[in-house]
């Protein structure tokens, strides 16, 4: 078990290093000289040279890379090339906003998805099951930002149940915070809910057809107890989907945040990429990968707990 | 060697065997450092036109031996000779050349035919890779279908349209199209119903008489082996514990394991089964 944990952690660190390295070189390759983007086209060559020297862009690429990664390893992501504020400070401000939305959306999809999945698995072919099937087809494919546009128009503008835009920090008001993240989370979660539910429902039916379920019933166990067995066997696939969804939601959040005008990493990513602010982009990448690695690690632990065979590997 | 002399063939004990296996060892890697020795130094010969049985229970290594001959199992040490040529580690082109001589029929009549191919395509594939023209291939396929007693219009049908026994006939036809000299039969009848099993066994015997092909016949069923095999080797935990002519092994087993195996398989006659069970219980007590 310990070696299992060590292996997964090592793999996570390796992933983190590889992805940030990849992004570093990809960004430099793709963006090239960032100074026109940062200063605007009207800047003189002298101004550009000054900026290049200031941000260290005049050094060889490998030196820059070493400089960045050695600092990043200690948690120092450098400073933005535009306003020279430490990247870390910006992330500390912005990440909680995005995480609020994404974690809330993940919770929603887990709770509702599992509940719907079980109900449909218990009554395949029933009304709820048919609704799920229809919903899963449409909602899975529709992009979150499209859904959020619809939700904003409907709930916020027409019905005025929720604030259309803006973010309230939980420090200020917990209920305000909840109100401000509800619509963004729901628009993100809809697709994930049906994915989780569909996965669980199919897994449920598959397990239900397995021999041991019949044997359990033949021993006289109640339906509720048999269902518990089925559920445990069906859960790994749904859990895996849930973890995948988390990654997808992080990406989807970028666009949804812009629709709802939330000060999360979405608008930061957008602006940083438009002007070629590489340190900010790298910081964003690193932070998101850390979260993804953590979630996957958590998933592995849960899967090991659910299925004894996994533990032994 | 009385049994050899009064058997049907012009048995010559002096002829070189078609296939000879010497001290074969096969290891499967289960995990990084865990190895499982599936075969622990096994020796065996198969003569031309002969059917040699390999009988044993699951995990005895009988299927592994068949797979090793076909190059589907990792050989650790030992030697496999076919027609005087060392084929122990034949790979790539050399292994593909062997397809002319060694073929296989597997147990599972459902998994052994590609469900997306018509029977014609299934049977023509081994010929196509050998460079046979389409017209020739078609003629051979038609002949083989006839040999295994399947209607000629089967070529346009998919495997799913056939029953288990019929599929096994198709698998046998596929093994025969290249006119091999040896067919490895890996439990070819154990997934079939009893009545089907009997007819397929008869087909195997007829085909051997018609074509002179040799069989290495892997089975867990002593009854099946007795029906079709000239000689048999009994395997237990990766080793051959007893070999000999089928009649002597099945009627007067020498090794205790063979005796246990024989007494454990129930016979379809209540009175005789009662005797057999009593003998089995006695053997179990004494063990």
């Amino acid at each position: 078990m310990l070696s299992f944990i060590a292996k997964r952690l090592l793999s996570g660190v390796l992933l983190l290093v590889l992805v940030t390295t990849g992004t570093f070189f990809l960004a430099h390759l793709a963006i090239g000289d960032p100074t026109p983007g940062l200063l605007g086209n009207s800047a003189t060559p002298a101004q550009q040279d000054a900026l290049r020297a200031k941000i260290g862009f005049d050094r060889p690429l490998l030196v820059q890379f070493w400089d960045w990664i050695s600092h990043a390893a200690t948690g120092d992501f450098g400073s933005s090339w535009r306003n020279f504020q430490p990247v870390g400070d910006q992330l500390v401000l912005r990440v909680p906003v995005t995480l609020s939305v994404v974690v809330f959306a993940t919770l929603l999809s887990a709770v509702i998805g599992v509940a719907v999945g079980i109900l449909c698995g218990l009554r395949p072919g029933g009304v709820l099951d048919r609704v799920l099937k229809l919903a899963s087809v449409v909602l899975f494919a529709l992009p979150g930002f499209w859904v959020s546009l619809v939700l904003v128009t409907w709930f916020a503008l027409d019905l005025r149940w929720f604030p259309a835009i803006g973010y309230v920090s939980p420090d200020q008001s917990v209920s305000g915070w909840l109100e401000s993240i509800t619509l963004p989370s729901v628009s993100l979660a809809l697709g994930a809910i049906v994915m989780v539910a569909e996965q669980l429902r199919n897994g449920f039916l598959q397990v239900n057809n397995q021999d041991f379920v019949r044997t359990l019933r033949a021993r006289g166990l109640s339906k509720r107890r048999v269902t518990a067995h089925v559920l445990r066997n069906a859960s790994p696939a749904a859990l895996t989907v849930l973890a995948l969804m988390f990654v997808g939601l992080l990406g989807g959040a970028i666009v949804v945040e812009i629709v709802f005008n939330l000060p999360g990493i979405g608008s930061l990513t957008q602006s940083a990429s438009q002007i070629g602010d590489i340190p900010v982009l790298l910081g964003l990448t690193a932070v998101t990968v850390v979260f993804v690695v953590l979630v996957n690690f958590l998933l592995d632990l849960v899967l090991g707990w659910v299925n004894p065979k996994v533990r032994e590997r | 060697m009385n049994a050899a002399n009064d058997s049907a063939g012009t048995a010559g004990t002096d002829t070189a065997p078609l296939l000879s296996v010497q001290d074969l060892v096969v290891d499967y890697r289960l995990a990084r450092k865990v190895r499982f020795r599936a075969l622990k130094g096994v020796s065996l010969t198969v003569g031309p036109g002969e059917c040699v049985g390999l009988v044993g229970e699951s995990g005895s290594g009988k299927s592994t031996l068949g797979r090793a001959l076909l190059g589907l199992a990792p050989v650790e040490s030992g030697r496999i000779t076919f027609d005087g040529e060392d084929i122990t580690h034949a790979r790539g082109a050399a292994r593909r050349r062997l397809a002319n001589d060694i073929q296989v029929v597997f147990q599972d009549p459902y998994g052994s035919l590609d469900p997306t191919m018509t029977v014609g395509e299934v049977l023509a594939e081994p010929l196509e890779v050998a460079g046979t023209t389409r017209a020739q291939a078609r003629a051979v396929v038609a002949e083989m279908l006839d040999r295994v007693r399947l209607p000629t219009d089967s070529v346009h049908r998919y495997p799913s349209e056939f029953s288990g026994g019929q599929r096994q006939r198709i698998a046998i036809a596929r093994a025969l199209v290249r006119m091999p000299r040896l067919i490895v039969c890996d439990e070819p009848v154990s997934a079939l119903d009893l009545t089907t099993q009997a007819t397929i066994l008869d087909l195997f015997i007829d085909l051997q008489r018609e074509t002179g092909v040799s069989y290495l016949f892997v089975s867990h069923d002593l009854g099946v082996v007795r029906r079709i095999c000239h000689r048999v080797s009994v395997m237990y935990q990766g080793e051959i514990v007893e070999s000999g002519h089928t009649r002597s092994v099945t009627e007067e087993p020498a090794h205790p394991y063979t005796r246990r195996l024989l007494l454990a398989s129930p016979v379809a006659d209540p009175a005789r089964q009662a005797d057999r069970r009593a003998a089995w219980l006695g053997l179990r007590e004494s063990a």
Binding site: A218, S273, K309 | A8, D114, L150, R209, D269
Partner: protein, 617 residues
């Protein structure tokens, strides 16, 4: 031994192509038609569009629909309809690039990983997992920032991030197919690896990939629109995402501008999603269940038989004992399943009985309905199965009219069940202890300690020498023979008066089979149980049964005491089954002798060189 006559020609089979079957699904047809409309709009945009999509006419700014501009004008004074049509072009062009690049990356990698396994698989899977863990949107924005307005490059990058979807589905399928014997057979037939990959493997993954492509296209279009919404892409190329951004800016004042591209996007994605789901249904990825109405129809048809086949519906088999004395008595049982061509009856009028303490064998070949008969007694038919009987009595009590809950209450208490496959009948996620103790506690009401003690005692009784280790084990940690003993222990732990065993030894080795049969016999005598044993093996019948029922095609052909059935089978089918068991038939030795006598030529033609070595005996 008589060979079964073989038909000279096969009955014609109606094969319906996937395309044909697709067109029978109304939802699928509608979705396909909508997609075709979008495709046509995209292809014909230059001719269909009434105006140049980039032509600015200030009078048209925020214009309402009408006046030659069917959908009005946008915030820059351009014709919305024309932009929508040209936007479809961009959308589909991008989706094609994305899908093709995802396909080209994911499918070959998946097929190779599944086929070759080992290092190839681990490496490819790691890369795929890594790609799925990368925050794709950020990287895409980086790419977009750098490559500026190069739309195709961006769409290829998007394809890279969607490739894991293809990879996972292809690999899973390839992995399953790799284990099929037909791949080994192809290798033995001399087929090269590239050819196996090209033919067998690619054919196997084809259908799931078509489904995946429909879904991927939908996702790709959504993400593409998202990127455009964020301001990525050339301003001179009209796109839906861009139009939605424009509409979003003016959402409060001119909601129509947002409405049109939203509808276009929603319809296109939904159409692709429905096409994918219809295809998935057709190649049965999603398990469908028969509706309640279908089940009612089966029941009705089983109870009210069609007059034409009445002879087939009369009860078959006979009762030996009086109804009151029976541990089990079945009267005219019929079992049917709903199928596309009506009701498929697998048991057609079966009557049998067994006295207390009697061992009854139900014997037949596959498809004879023997197992279905037994599941009907347990009321545990697979989903979709319906049983109808004039009467089912367990321990003298009529149970066929009872509710499902009352029937379930018999299980574990009055009726015990021993399944066929030892390992698939234990829950892989729980220890043996949990699985044995749970019914004892919650069905039989024992305390935790008592239940554990009882479980341990029963394990000892079924011959397991180290019960504590077995109790602590998970199913995958014990052998098949041990698992079957555990299952028997589970079946008899509740001391049922009737034990039904479904091919209890078929999956076991012969030596283990003998042990398990002996155990069943001992338990049956010790507890005085009635044992109903379903088997295809006449040796098993001869070994353990008192009476036997022979079944064929859902009906009983013969019932009788074991000695009588073996000695004087009344039905030719019974005789054929018994003779097929190879016990007394001639061996190869005798066969070859007979052959030599019949055809002297055989002596010359026979190539058998038997006894190539001195036997090591």
């Amino acid at each position: 031994m008589t060979a079964v006559p073989f038909p000279a020609a096969l009955a014609p089979v109606k094969r319906i192509s996937l395309g044909r079957r697709y067109l029978r699904r109304p939802l699928g047809v509608v979705a396909l038609a909508l997609l075709l409309v979008v495709v046509a709009a995209a292809v014909l945009a230059p001719w269909l569009a009434p105006f140049d999509p980039n032509h600015v006419d200030f009078t048209l700014t925020h214009a309402e629909p009408g006046g030659g501009h069917l959908l009005g004008g946008d915030s820059a004074g351009r014709d919305i309809l024309s932009r929508l049509l040209h936007g479809a072009r961009t959308t589909l062009y991008g989706a094609v690039i994305t899908c093709v690049s995802g396909l080209l990356l994911g499918v070959p990698a998946g097929v190779c990983a599944g086929y070759f396994g080992g290092v190839t698989d681990r490496l490819a899977s790691w890369v795929s997992d890594a790609l799925q863990s990368v925050p794709g949107m950020i990287v895409l924005l980086v790419v977009a920032a750098g490559t500026g307005q190069s739309f195709p490059v961006l769409m290829v990058a998007l394809g890279v991030f969607l490739a894991p979807g293809y990879y996972r589905i292809t690999r899973a399928r390839a992995l399953a197919v790799r284990k099929e014997p037909y791949i080994d057979a192809a290798r033995v037939a001399g087929v090269t690896n590239p050819r196996i990959l090209r033919t067998h493997m690619l054919r196997a993954v084809y259908a799931p990939i078509v489904v995946q492509t429909a879904l991927t296209a939908g996702i790709a279009i959504g993400m593409q629109a998202g990127l455009q919404f964020l301001g990525i892409g050339s301003a001179s190329t009209p796109s839906w995402g861009q139009m939605m951004n424009d509409g979003f800016q003016n959402m409060l004042t001119y909601p129509l501008i947002l409405l049109w591209p939203s509808i276009a996007l929603g319809i296109t994605i939904a159409a692709l999603a429905f096409i994918g789901s219809t295809l998935a249904d057709l190649i049965s990825i999603r398990a469908e269940q028969p509706s309640r109405r279908a089940r009612a129809r089966v029941r009705q048809e089983l109870t009210a038989p069609a007059a034409t086949e009445l002879s087939n519906r009369l009860p078959s088999g006979e009762h030996e004992h009086s109804a009151e004395d029976c541990a089990l008595r079945i009267d005219n049982l019929r079992v049917g399943y709903a199928s596309p061509s009506g009701v498929k009856e697998v048991v057609r009028g079966v009557s049998l009985d067994a006295a207390p303490g009697e061992v009854l064998g139900i014997v037949g070949e596959s498809g004879s309905g023997k197992t279905q008969t037994m599941f009907a007694v347990l009321d545990l038919l697979p989903s979709g199965g319906t049983a109808v009987a004039d009467g089912i009595r367990v321990s003298g009590r009529e149970v066929s009219g009872l509710s499902a809950a009352e029937r379930a209450a018999l299980l574990g208490r009055s009726i015990g069940y021993v399944p066929q496959e030892p390992l698939s009948n234990l829950d892989p996620c729980y220890t043996i202890e949990r699985q044995l103790v749970e019914p004892l506690r919650h069905v039989h009401g024992l305390s935790k300690a008592d239940a554990r003690q009882r479980a341990r005692d029963v394990l000892v009784r079924v011959g397991l020498t180290d019960p504590d280790r077995v109790l602590a084990s998970y199913p995958h940690q014990i052998s098949g023979g041990m698992a079957q003993r555990v299952l028997i222990a589970g079946a008899v732990a509740g001391r049922p008066s009737l034990l039904v065993a479904d091919e209890p030894t078929t999956a076991l080795d012969v030596t283990v089979q003998a042990e398990v049969l002996e155990l069943l016999r001992e338990l049956q005598q010790e507890y005085g149980m009635t044992l109903v044993i379903v088997t295809h093996n006449f040796g098993v019948v001869a070994d353990i049964c008192d009476r036997v029922v022979v079944m064929k095609d859902g009906r009983i052909v013969e019932t009788g005491r074991v000695e009588q059935i073996f000695r004087h089978p009344a039905d030719p089918y019974t005789a054929e089954l018994i003779s097929a068991s190879l016990d007394d038939v001639a061996g190869r030795h005798e066969l070859d002798q007979a052959w030599a006598r019949e055809s002297p030529a055989a002596l010359d033609r026979s190539a058998a060189h038997v006894g190539g070595e001195d036997d090591a005996r």
